[in-house]
């Protein structure tokens, strides 16, 4: 294995690293100069200084977006299959596909930042987004527990900073702190679990662990290790009862950060969780069927899923802040997605991945609209959304698409995603043993319809709010965002009408 080849195989990650550094440098040099200029000189130059700082901001964003585009190209240039260092870096069609998806999500997150006012240090912020993206790519592209842990930590630490980035907002600091405390605890769990698994099986490669598990009987200590690893991931995907950080993080973090936490981080976590349980722990699958429970990880995940669906949907009913509502609905959606992993197999895994991808696209868009409304009205409670449709029909229409997709109304992506999941779960066992879980999920999505309709009620039906003088017209400086949001809404619609363009890709990429 020559270093040249390593560099070639790791080129997408390398490109993103370089981009992050370049963005950081640009931010440091141009941004600071402008800030210094405004301080030292009198008023006339202040105007010029802010203009130069916006120019530097645009430059940062442009470089970041360009770097991501090049990285996508590099992913496309990768060979179809390769394995390095016993699974530390794995390239398969699946990893390539999801690297692209993660990069695209980062791309849209960066577009959402373009007119955010909180960003005094735009270069740093974008660099951290890019670092988090590297974390995502490492997570997706590895089948080795240590490497996965490094990816998780890189991602986690970047996200903590992103959550706390708005120094002017107390809630942001709270979100960052809570996210950090919960996150580091769960990382400790994961690491402890991994160490136990390593101790019992003598390896950290997923394929090797699977081979070991298949021959030896499961000792209690190994079971503890498996459960602890799962707990760590349950935190990442915000499955109940490990979801406590989510409402505060979703509500307090700056909008782009929250969007990234809800989308990219979730997609990558599901990819990795799926790989760990379906490749690494395959021999101890167990069964979650109603009359045939067999010990293993799938009953654990099934219990998490059931609890998440119930708790997420019921608590979301009572929310009056849209971001908190989205957070609790995220808990429920994590539950639905787990259904696919519990079902297992190619169909189950690809259903879970399809669902989490469309969910991520939807949430980035929804947070984009939240950002828009926040700019316009200064808040993101449900009441801030009242009669959005008369203020901005475009954003209202997009939000309707996102909410209805989350509710699972055809012909939107969310409907097909749910359908695909339920189908996979029923298909998993010949006697439809997972029917109880599917019925619960259907019941959950029935409940969820109510609160999504409430959002639509605020947007479309509510009485016209008084046109306050403080209401700024933000349409003009929000062009980039609105077009990005419309693009996402179009994607949600397209994936609903023609789901096979993604579903068939994922299914074909399955090992």
């Amino acid at each position: 294995m020559s270093y040249l080849e390593l560099l070639k195989l790791a080129s997408p990650e390398a490109i993103v690293v370089i981009t992050a550094l370049v963005v950081l440098t640009i931010g440091l040099t141009t941004g600071r100069e402008a800030a210094g200029a405004t301080v030292s000189t009198a008023r006339p130059t202040g105007n010029a200084g802010s203009r130069s700082s916006t120019r530097s901001a645009a430059l940062c964003a442009f470089v970041a977006v360009l770097g991501l585009a090049v990285a996508i190209g590099a992913v496309l240039m990768l060979p179809r299959n390769a394995t390095l260092f016993g699974g530390m870096l794995v390239i398969t069609p699946l990893t390539s596909l999801f690297k692209i998806i993660c990069i695209v999500l980062a791309f849209f997150t960066i577009l959402l930042t373009t007119s955010e006012k909180f960003l005094r240090h735009r270069g740093e912020y974008l660099a951290i987004v890019l670092l988090a993206t590297i974390g995502l790519m490492l997570l997706v592209g590895s089948e080795e527990l240590l490497m996965i842990f490094i990816g998780l930590e890189l991602l986690g630490l970047s996200l903590y900073v992103m959550a706390a980035f708005d120094k002017t907002d107390l809630r942001s600091a709270e979100a960052g702190l809570k996210y950090f405390l919960f996150g580091s605890t769960s990382s400790a769990f994961t690491l402890f679990g991994i160490s136990l698994i390593y101790g019992m099986s003598g390896t950290t490669g997923l394929a090797a662990i699977s081979a070991k598990l298949a021959t030896a009987s499961v000792q209690p200590l190994l079971a503890v290790g498996i459960v602890m690893t799962l707990v760590g991931f349950a935190f990442k995907i915000a499955a109940a009862p490990f979801h406590l950080w989510a409402p505060d993080a979703y509500q307090g973090a700056p909008v782009p950060s929250a969007a990234f936490i809800a989308s990219g981080s979730k997609v990558a976590s599901f990819v990795v969780l799926g790989k760990i349980v379906l490749i690494g722990f395959a021999p101890v699958h167990g069964s979650a069927a109603w009359h045939g429970m067999v010990a293993g990880w799938s009953p654990v995940l099934a219990a998490l899923a059931a609890f998440s669906i119930l708790l997420g949907n019921l608590v979301a009913l009572a929310q009056s802040n849209l971001r908190r509502l989205l957070a609790y609905s995220a808990v429920a959606h994590a539950g639905y997605t787990l259904l696919g992993l519990v079902a297992g197999g190619r169909d189950g895994f690809s259903a879970a991945l399809f669902y989490t991808t469309t969910y991520a696209i939807t949430l980035v868009g929804a947070f984009g609209v939240v950002g828009f409304v926040r700019h316009e009205t200064g808040g993101d409670d449900l009441s801030n959304f009242s009669r959005l449709c008369s203020r901005s029909p475009l954003m209202a229409g997009c939000m309707a698409i996102f909410m209805l997709s989350l509710a699972g109304i055809p012909p939107l992506a969310g409907f097909f995603g749910k359908f695909y999941l339920f189908r996979a779960a029923l298909q998993a066992s010949p006697s439809h043993g997972l029917l109880w879980l599917v019925a619960l999920a259907l019941f959950g999505s029935f409940i969820s319809l109510y609160y999504y309709l409430m959002v639509l009620k605020f947007i479309f039906v509510d009485k016209q709010a008084e046109a306050g003088a403080d209401r700024r017209s933000v349409m003009t400086d929000y062009v980039l965002q609105t077009s990005a949001i419309s693009l996402l809404a179009a994607a949600v619609l397209l994936l609903g009408v023609m789901p096979d363009i993604l579903a068939a890709q994922i299914l074909a990429a399955m090992p």
Partner: protein, 540 residues
């Protein structure tokens, strides 16, 4: 052209909605014109279907089939397959007609948020047409649920005082039913896979395998009945049958006039259509199961009587019409579960009739409401003095709704009762009071609103119908007279699909699948009664 006619009909309204997106919302008249043009175009493009369909009305199977099995989402086995038979043909023609009528009727009724209104309405139109055309269950389900959203918004935005409650109730009720149906159809889908080795939602494929569940030792009759119940609840909520009807008065009362017309005229038919298209052919043995059938008949009869009795007591005109729908739809389900060719074709014809007459009744109520902004019966009296044209049209539609011979309602109800009588005379006997009660509540309403002198001074200056309003009623009256006087073509169109269903449900039933009814000469001037009895004779 013929091979894509269904898609063209299906997407014409959607194209209109898309075009409307780009019209500035201040330009209300342009929006109205475009919406009306596309609604009229939707009707016009469906008219060539009439001669084409007429030529092949006795041919078996679905006509104008478009698309191929599993061509849409191959990985799960869903296809974009459209096709119609006589039943869906009539319902599609009803939908395009009522769609045009209700969009025309909204010209002055809707004054705020005009653009959104027409966009949602046109989308709704496409959704409804899709439900009647889909030959793939997945596609069907997409349309079935997709049209909930526009209807929710139509009620929620342009509705009356309790609109939000009504809109959410409507949405949740329907969705609860469809969730159960989705689960049941997934079972059929996997069962089909086990039998044939292919995953598909194609309705024709499911027709072949689903009936076997009843006799399959691995599942058994109870399981089949449970699946049937899942379908039943979904459709019974939509119809609505007796214990599931509570959403209907709320939705109807709060919806804007055009929304009520579409709701009563087309949306309710989706439930009965679902019974005919899915529940019966998927579970023929369950439908013939004496207990299940007994319950269905009992619920239908309760619906007929209960709906009529409640109508008698209403003080609000719209609520009266809404409850009368429960009663009329009771006749439709009675005809379906009588499971005779006469009962079924009467039922489908009665669905069309109900769409025409109840649609017109809602328009009638809407016209008074537009002028006076109240629907309280006590507010009116002596209206025939100030609005003679309006009073005449109202009388025709009331008579049609209560089933006077030579008007459409009579043909439908008579055929249903006849078909039920052949099966069990007691059922028919229980249903007949519904006809009498219908006459009672409608005539009493007419008397209170139109006869006498003008008691309320506010009513003295009401202006009579405008030409536009007359135009909205014209097609409905023509259709009511046509079906009432010469229903033979309609029965001929229904003959093939109805016989096929009866043949599936009860193989060897005399009259189903045997001689083609139309070959029996029927005196062209014969009333429906003659026609129906001759049909029955011809079948024996």
């Amino acid at each position: 052209m013929q091979s894509h006619i269904l898609s063209i009909i299906l997407f014409t309204p959607l194209a209109g909605a898309f075009l409307l997106l780009f019209v500035p919302k201040e330009n209300k008249d342009a929006i109205r014109w475009i919406a009306n043009i596309f609604a009229a175009a939707g009707l016009l493009v469906s008219i060539p279907l009439v001669p084409w369909f007429w030529q092949q009305r006795f041919e078996p199977g679905f006509k104008f089939v478009e698309g191929a099995v599993n061509n849409w989402i191959p990985s799960i086995g869903a296809g974009y397959v459209l096709g119609i038979d006589g039943i869906s043909f009539l319902l599609i023609m009803l939908t395009t007609l009522l769609g045009w009528v209700s969009i025309l009727s909204s010209w002055e009724a809707i004054q705020n948020r005009v653009k959104e209104y027409y966009i949602w309405f046109l989308i709704l139109q496409t959704g409804m047409l899709g439900v009647f055309m889909a030959l793939d269950f997945f596609l069907f389900f997409v349309f079935w649920e997709a049209m909930l959203v526009p209807m929710y918004l139509l009620i929620g935005i342009w509705g009356g005082p309790r609109k939000l409650y009504a809109a959410i109730k409507f949405f949740l009720y329907t969705l609860l039913g469809s969730v159960l149906m989705l689960l049941a159809v997934l079972f059929l889908y996997f069962y089909n896979y086990r039998q044939t080795g292919t995953y598909t939602f194609s309705i024709e494929a499911l027709y072949k395998t689903a009936p076997h569940i009843f006799h399959d030792p691995a599942y058994g009759a109870t399981f089949a009945i449970l699946l049937f119940l899942a379908f039943f609840i979904a459709f019974a909520i939509k119809v609505p049958m007796f214990p599931f009807h509570t959403w209907l008065p709320d939705a109807h009362v709060e919806a804007p006039t055009a929304g009520s017309v579409i709701l009563a005229g087309v949306l309710l038919k989706m439930g009965t259509y679902g019974f005919v298209r899915f529940a019966l052919p998927f579970f023929p043995d369950v439908a013939m199961h004496p207990k299940v059938r007994g319950w269905m008949i009992a619920l239908s009869i309760i619906g007929i009587i209960y709906g009529a009795l409640v109508s008698l007591m209403q003080k609000d005109m719209k609520k009266l019409v809404a409850y009368s729908s429960v009663s009329h739809l009771g006749f439709c389900t009675l005809g379906i579960f009588a499971l005779t060719p006469l009962g079924l074709s009467g039922s489908v014809l009665q669905q069309i009739n109900h769409g025409i007459s109840t649609g017109a009744l809602f328009l009638i109520v809407g016209i008074l409401y537009e002028r006076r902004h109240t629907r309280e019966i006590a507010e009116y009296g002596g209206i025939s003095n100030v609005m003679p044209v309006y009073a005449t049209i109202t009388m025709i539609m009331f008579l049609s709704s209560m089933g006077l011979p030579l008007l459409n309602g009579f043909v439908g109800e008579f055929t249903i009762l006849q078909g039920t009588f052949v099966e069990n005379w007691r059922w028919a006997a229980w249903a007949v009071p519904g006809v009498i009660l219908a006459a009672a509540y409608l005539l009493w309403l007419y008397q209170r609103v139109f006869f006498g002198t003008v008691t309320n001074p506010k009513n003295e200056r009401l202006h009579d119908l405008t030409p536009r309003e007359v135009l909205t009623f014209a097609p409905l009256i023509i259709m009511a007279l046509w079906i009432g006087i010469y229903p033979k073509p309609f029965f001929q169109i229904l003959e093939q699909p109805v016989n096929q269903i009866v043949q599936t449900v009860r193989p060897g039933y005399p009259g189903a699948g045997g001689a083609v009814n139309a070959s029996v000469p029927v005196s062209s001037a014969g009333t429906s009664a003659q026609l129906a009895s001759e049909n029955a004779k011809g079948n024996k």
